[in-house]
């Protein structure tokens, strides 16, 4: 099942702010399930990549300490018409990606 990403971005003077909202539980593996006394198994996004027109611009590594349903805003050098793509994977191997054409 792929991870759902919603993203927006707008270029201004050669720099575009990209905002992405990701639907993911971000379970760190430390939170206890009180009913069973066992921790909820870890499931969090660990690798995130942002690319502009196919060239990698940002490479991020996350831990389970990033909030659930993560919000991320980054800035890349891009102009209107450029394609910005966000791709990610979590520690269980699930992946997701989304791309937009900048206005």
């Amino acid at each position: 099942m792929s991870i759902k990403i919603r993203m927006r971005g707008k270029s201004k003077g050669g720099v575009a702010e990209i905002k992405a909202l990701i639907k993911h539980p971000m379970e760190s593996g430390a939170r206890m399930n009180k009913a069973t006394g066992k921790p909820y198994p870890a499931k969090y996004i660990d690798m995130v990549e942002v690319s502009v027109n196919g060239t990698k611009a940002i490479d991020a590594q996350w831990s389970g300490a990033v909030s659930a349903n993560p919000y991320m805003a980054v800035k890349v050098k891009a102009n209107a018409g450029d394609e910005v793509k966000v791709s990610l994977k979590d520690n269980t191997g699930a992946t997701g990606e989304d791309s937009i054409k900048l206005k």
């Binding site: 939170r31 831990s63 050098k77």
Partner: protein, 156 residues
Amino acid sequence: MKRRSFLKGTLATGAAAVAVNAGLLTPSTVLAADWNAKAFGAKTTDDALNAVFGSANATASGDVQLKAPAIAENGAVTPVTVDASGIDGVESIAILASKNPMPMVCEYTFGAGAVGYVSTRIKMGETMNVIAVVNAGGKLLKAEQEVKVTIGGCGG
């Protein structure tokens, strides 16, 4: 009868071993080879910084603009913004929460096509400092701010 089940058992494990050797069953650790497990597993901020940058010696700098709330009502979603766009040659930004069991929260590495700016939301278990460390041309710069947490974000 016993001998038969014994033989069956050895045959089955033998087949599994062959599968591993042939690369059919790749251990999951191989897939996460890029992920800096040492940094994210570190128990102190210094250990984490050493694992990421090779040094924990960061100088406080006003050019690293860290924006975090003075009081976070819900520690599970603490908005944090690090703006290092005023610094030339930003290579990476790491965000740490000083008193989390594992302080390393996230790390961003920037290529030529990016600006040193990150905004995200992080989990904080209690009142502590948020630390942003910026690596610009091998120099480590940091900014630190205390965030008071009224409801913890880890466990509960």
